[in-house]
Symmetry: C2
DNA sequence: CAGAAAATGTACGGAACTGTTAATTTCGCT
DNA sequence: AGCGAAATTAACAGTTCCGTACATTTTCTG
């Protein structure tokens, strides 16, 4: 899938170059992320992405092959970003209950602050994960989340604060679902129930409720 | 929005007619529902819908104006369907805890059995609810859900089995989120965690976990 | 500095799509 | 029976949009 190699073999004066493949690639990715998140895969326009870029449409096809290739790259980059930040949480130092609350609240806050990520995942699910299926990196990236979760859960069981016998995947799914839905379904939900889910107070309250819900499921 | 009147004024031999506006309308709606759910709004093709219909493309424009009008009609019909079935649940006769469990399990099961509905809602959320915003019916349809939920919750508080002070919307949101996510994010989630969320046993287990989670949040 | 490879700009082909025009058939009513 | 309205058909106009062909410039290698 990667057409371009890392340009680490040139010898000198790397700063003076007029051409800058990596920057061009990144520029395209940034613009494409916004466009795909806003309009979905079919709704996104390659011409529109090209227009908002500092480069031309020709470059999109040069680096990413076609529209689908571009979307795959966008998805990979988005997942890489969230996992990188997520792995920075230091949960091992906290008591299990606190650690779980922290993880739940982080998940909620991150997704709320990064609606583009949520929207990209929605779009990819509409397409039945067909693009993500091509990426080998994805799975490796996400193993760590379960690892952290498992460790925290088992500490909690040993301490007697969590009930035993639960499935790690279930716990993760519950956290993700509650955090995700708050962003993904905000439009229809707010519309139908005339309830502004995006306001500062609503978010604080909901984050609290989500954490409570997760902990309630775990608590002995 | 309704262009066609109910054709109840003809006198005899209604079965022998060659023209049948209501059937044509319904035929279009059924086909369009599948197409929009499968491919999203932008991905859906009017020509494709027309081809799978017993009628022609011109009829789509005749009855629904344009592609957006067709999508609005599809959404309205989908919501009407789910709410109709939902209102058939008789929760007032059950003790509060049982009633809540029943509601949570129904929500889970319905959404699982009707992925097209879930997908249409996803699509509409990608479009920020712009289509649903035109429909006045939608809000009225959903008031009843909150009504039922409120009544059940208050009975539970009076009985001392639910803790007081909770927000009805929060409860509904939690139920919806857990049920919805299980369908909406199945593709990416299953892919990333190599966990088949669609299998019979996984569904039974998860439905149980979802009910537990909701009740855990409510329990005193 | 030459020659190769990488990167980029321009312009356009042609398929895919939405929506329309105009003409025809069927229906409801008196 | 016959008229006006509703329903339906067929063909197509006008865009939009993905992807490419071709040419050119820039950078790298030896």
């Amino acid at each position: 899938m990667s057409i371009v190699k890392s340009p680490a073999r040139r010898r000198r004066a790397p700063e003076i170059r007029r051409q800058n493949p990596e920057a061009v690639r990144q520029d395209i990715l940034t613009v494409a992320t916004a466009e795909f998140a806003e309009n979905g895969f079919s709704g996104a326009r390659v011409d529109e992405i090209a227009a908002r870029t500092r480069t031309s449409k020709r470059m999109i096809y040069y680096y990413f092959g076609d529209k689908e290739g571009l979307f795959v790259a966008v998805l990979e980059a988005a997942y890489a970003r969230i996992r990188e930040i997520e792995s920075g949480l230091d949960l091992a130092g906290l008591p299990p209950m606190e650690a779980m609350r922290r993880l739940a609240e982080f998940t909620f806050t991150y997704q709320n602050d990064n609606p583009d990520f949520v929207r990209l995942v929605m779009v990819e699910n509409i397409h039945r994960g067909s693009h993500l299926a091509r990426s080998a990196k994805i799975q490796a990236l996400n193993v760590s989340v379960l690892q952290t979760l498992r460790e925290t859960y088992e500490r909690g069981v040993a301490d007697g604060v969590f009930r035993p016998g639960l499935d790690i995947i279930d716990i993760h799914m519950t956290m993700s679902a509650l955090a995700f839905f708050n962003v993904s379904n905000r439009s229809t939900f707010s519309l139908i129930f005339k309830h502004n889910m995006g306001s500062r107070t609503a978010l604080t309250r909901r984050r609290q409720a989500v954490a409570e819900t997760v902990l309630g499921y775990l608590r002995r």
